[in-house]
Symmetry: C2
Subunit: 499 residues, 2 copies
């Protein structure tokens, strides 16, 4: 069928899209999501069909094409193209296979992941893949294959060092910015730690958001290599590099339902580690009321899975299960967390002791599990504490920040939101619970992570005794309106229990 | 956050969409599929976020809005709007519940179906609902609730008659245009049959496509009521009426993976019946190699399910399991099937006997199962045969066609594609198998159902003895190019086995 070209000025998600008027689509008996092969002279392209309800959007007899397709075809507004129905990609049948409860081979998974990365699958089709993996579950082989395929279809950073150490936290705990302390300690101890981190998805800050207060984190692959070569480590935003790109597309369709399929979760985490060639990894699973993992048996199950999958992937993985029942550190939100980090690294009296202790513990766990050759004596908690309190870790942090593009080293220069509200104890008592989810939500409503200075500061932690009117936490916002929203939110959920 | 309005000239699927530049979305920490509340003065609207990769599509600082949203807001290109993150609809949590394997209440299902009908869910979210129903299965209560909700959220046609008879075929058999013969027989016998049918989705013709060769089928609710009042029955395209609209949206996301979830299948079929207030229904499940249902145990299982769900819905359902191992009738494609229908109704010597026999059997099954009051003697196969061969059914068909807007009553005036190719026996032998799927595909490649005259004519059926070079089937196309495609396709799949 011949159609005239209508230039449609839109791009969505990466998939190539072609748009027909509803009546033409009905006539041709084609449907949203069908693949159309479009030809123009000798050029040809495959696009996914979308349907325009109104003639205003795409007229009858016209095919709406986005610029990327026009370029491929060498076609222009008003030109003529031919369209044909194209067979579906092979991965459709494979996704269906998994949905029907059958096991996928490593080859099957590679086909699906390649089609995801090359934008050959629509969001609806990727959603079926995620649903299938979530409801049917991925077994060990499938999880390993998915991880390998995700690594293979993206860039892989190589470093001329061994071991390559990495860490990961399952998340769900507010604050908890251990990465920014553990990495400089380990690098100061001689480890190579090319750390990439994400920005916040549903939390008030991701490690990349917090680090960005202190230094540039938008490093490309070459910059990461050069920073690591120069200093032994880095703390970069993973989004600026093309590491395991399939994962990002999968996460996009997981987001609407907050799906966290076990196999996909493992593959997602380990693919990012594999993409920086990590050989030795520490995984932190915080457990407790309000954390992402609430039950100990689930945490143990995940731990065993990590170790098993890691073994098959040739990665050494050590898992620690930690207390995730309340926030770690006092600051929540990019700037407030960055200040906590500097306080700990600079051994300031305001340093939150729980953040310091947990960071030291994690650094020690890595050093004990993966001692550097010839350094057997120098490992463990005491050594980590020495590196931190002597200022060696802070010196290394400064080096890394300098190499990445330093912004702030003096904690007094960190800008905290100017509008604040302090929430006080309504009675004498003991703090019984601080809810991660409520604390995160209040901080987000106040503007974090977009407003770097927004968030909150916790004056007390679980177990502390407080008197009526003692401050419990202070909310910070960059403008009055958002502070107002946060206060409104407080009326429903205060996040703290007193008993 | 304030954004300037950019008028984006596109509508897709019905969901209200707002588009942000990728960088603004990252800054705001919002994601594809998130709901945004957009306000302009006192007006407000909720739209689903989409992300533009390039500044050309949507500039930074701008929010791309489609006309429908602009109208709602009373906003114009270049105006200023405020945006806020909106909570997700309640149905998201309910879909998640089902995905996790928990049972949905009737209220839960009503919430989900309402949100689907009101375009509050994205395609990705509806896909999770379909996946959940497919993999976890819908039990009896859930299926009944889904059917009721789908009926309730659309128009319901009422007729001042009782019983209201309907029929449905599960599909998968090429040709098989029994509806166009059964309905006039039943109406001639005094039954009220307000039949609505679909167009082809993956087949070479739907009942609506075939009827459209003979008369107008695009009737709105008032026209259906008036035709039924006048004649006792109708054969209209269901798509022109707002019957169970949720079903269409569900089918849209089922299409990419050809998902056919059992519970959703039943609900989909029975919702359409409930929407025309049908009280007595015959369901035809063709079984056999190449049909939609290939195994007898599956057919029996579906039969029991139909009867049980029907009982809960207050519908009397009679299920027949028929031979679906080869096409029924000789013509495949709208015009060729319409010609078969006229031949049967006009008792022409070319009338395909299998189509005639099956139609009589179905009419008889309905009359036996649901005898009209005071007509106990007049029912069964013989009575149906009388009505057909006496011309009473054809007279009724003419009445219905006239009321709908007749086009063709003389079979010689039906236009069959002018380009043809006859496929002949490559050896002497007996026809062992005619594959529904291959026959359908060849007919579609030749242009059916879009080209009404395209399709094929089967000269022989399974069991027939043929000599080498005897014609097996003739392909018809409206242009040479498509005939060429069909011939190409034949090289891979001929669709007929000789032994």
């Amino acid at each position: 069928m011949k159609f005239k070209v209508q230039d449609v000025d839109i791009t969505t998600g990466g998939t190539l899209v072609a748009i027909l008027n509803r009546k033409d689509a009905m006539m041709l008996d084609v449907h949203t999501g069908d693949r159309m092969r479009i030809t123009h002279g000798r050029n040809s392209a495959v696009a996914v069909l979308d349907i325009a309800e109104s003639g205003k959007a795409v007229k009858r007899g016209y095919l709406g094409l986005m610029e990327e397709v026009l370029r491929k075809l060498g076609a222009k507004q008003g030109g003529t193209v031919n369209i044909y129905l194209e067979e579906k990609p092979k991965s459709i049948a494979l996704i269906r296979k998994k949905l029907d409860g059958r096991k996928l081979s490593a080859e099957d998974i590679q086909t699906i992941v390649e089609d995801i990365v090359h934008n050959k699958l629509t969001a609806v089709e990727i959603t079926y893949f995620v649903s299938a993996g979530y409801v049917r579950g991925l077994d060990m082989d499938e999880t390993v294959a998915l991880t390998r395929s995700m690594i293979r279809t993206g860039d892989v950073l190589k470093f001329e060092r061994h071991p390559i150490v990495d860490k990961h936290c399952i998340g769900g705990v507010a604050g908890n910015r251990t990465t920014c302390i553990v990495v400089p300690i380990l690098v100061a101890a001689g480890y190579c730690v090319p750390k990439t981190s994400s920005r916040a998805i549903t939390s008030p800050s991701g490690t990349a958001d917090t680090m960005e207060v202190l230094c540039n984190v938008n490093l490309d692959a070459n910059q990461i290599r050069s920073v690591v070569k120069m200093t032994g480590g880095c703390m970069a935003w993973g989004g600026a590099v093309n590491l395991a790109p399939a994962d990002d597309k999968i996460i996009t369709v997981e987001h609407p339902l907050s799906i966290d399929a076990e196999g996909q979760l493992l593959a997602s985490i380990l693919a990012k580690k594999g993409s920086v060639s990590a050989t030795h990894i520490l995984v932190d699973i915080p457990v407790g009321r309000g954390a992402k993992v609430t039950r100990m048996d689930k945490a143990r199950h995940l731990r065993d899975l990590f170790v098993k999958v890691g073994k098959k992937l040739g990665m050494k993985i050590k898992v620690i299960i930690t207390d995730g029942s309340q926030p770690i550190g006092n600051g929540i939100g990019p700037a407030l967390e960055a200040r906590d980090v500097l306080w700990v690294l600079q051994d300031h009296e305001n340093a939150p002791q729980d953040l310091k202790r947990k960071s030291l513990l994690m650094a020690a766990e890595i050093m004990k599990a993966y001692p550097l050759p010839g350094r057997k004596a120098k490992h463990g908690y005491r050594y980590a504490k020495d590196l931190l309190e002597s200022g060696a870790a802070w010196k290394k942090m400064e080096e890394i920040m300098d190499a990445q593009g330093s912004r702030i080293t003096d904690w007094k220069r960190i800008k905290i939101g100017k509008n604040s509200f302090t929430f006080r104890a309504w009675q004498d008592g003991r703090i019984k619970h601080i809810d991660n989810l409520s604390i995160s939500r209040i901080s987000r409503v106040a503007g974090a992570p977009f407003d770097k200075g927004a968030g909150m500061y916790l004056h007390h932690k679980v177990g502390d005794r407080v008197k009526k009117k003692d401050p419990l936490f202070t909310i910070y916002a960059e403008n009055k309106q958002k502070l107002g929203y946060a206060k409104d939110y407080l009326r429903q959920y205060d996040g703290i229990e007193l008993a």
